[in-house]
Symmetry: C2
Subunit: 158 residues, 2 copies
């Protein structure tokens, strides 16, 4: 059951996606809702800001976390004009957002030349099969920082 | 074949990961190299900056893109003290970084209570099986922005 209020929030995200095209950005918008109010919005500013991570959802998450003064967005919902790409979906997990509403799909995005669908496929492959090679080195030296973290008593975990 | 220079770059990332613990951040560091020089660094500032997206790799990518004045980091390599989480790996794809060197693994991260491995598992599931529910609404209204994008003549694609 989708309420009229939820449709209004999604229409805000869609409006952001369309207006952002006029403002030199990509066709993606998102809003984050908590306790029945929009607390943050975002649009895709990758090319406008020269920031490959500036997707609508990432920008909305950063704005919501700043607004609330916490890295934990439990209790929040995200309304995004397009199915989150793997970067944004993972950011939603890290932020602990409760649920996702989306409108366009990753396949709609692929049809206008965005790589969402390609990256989903890449992540589903084993590291050896992916197009960007990844190689492990110096694991025996890096682990000391993890040990130091484990033994730190006043750390903020998340 | 790993060169001594590549080991030095990784040791820089490891040093950042360790120092960052002392500076109120998480045990993760990364450096981005282009044409044989470090052009940007990053450390995990999630709790320090109240930004769930502020992982070492994302911060290094943002800094490198800002430094180079482009969203396209082709020709760059990333040295990260830990295997990138799915958010960071996807950001590496969006940024078109050439290759990845990492030291600790996602399983090492899990052993000190970071969710990297959990999120990798979540992304490998079908949307219906994931712990964060996702629901599609208003696709028929959202597609207009994608049509508008497709028809725009002076757009910057990426």
């Amino acid at each position: 059951m989708i309420t009229e209020q939820q449709k209004k929030w999604m229409r805000e995200a869609i409006k952001l996606s369309s207006r952002n095209i006029d403002n030199g950005g990509g066709p993606f918008g998102a809003v984050i809702v908590k306790n029945g109010e929009i607390i943050a919005t975002g649009a895709n500013r990758v090319t406008a800001d020269n920031d490959p991570t500036a997707h609508a959802e990432v920008n909305a998450i950063r704005a919501a976390a700043k607004y609330l003064g916490t890295f934990d967005l439990s209790g929040c919902e995200i309304y995004t004009s397009c199915e989150p790409c793997p970067m944004c979906l993972s950011a939603i997990y890290w932020a602990r957002i409760d649920c996702i509403y989306y409108a366009n799909t990753q396949y709609d995005a692929r049809a206008i030349n965005f790589d969402d669908s390609f990256i989903y496929t890449q992540l589903s492959l084993s590291p050896e099969q992916r197009s960007i090679p990844a190689r492990r080195i110096l694991g025996e030296e890096a682990i000391a920082a993890f040990d130091k973290w484990r033994d730190k008593e006043d750390k903020i975990e998340y």
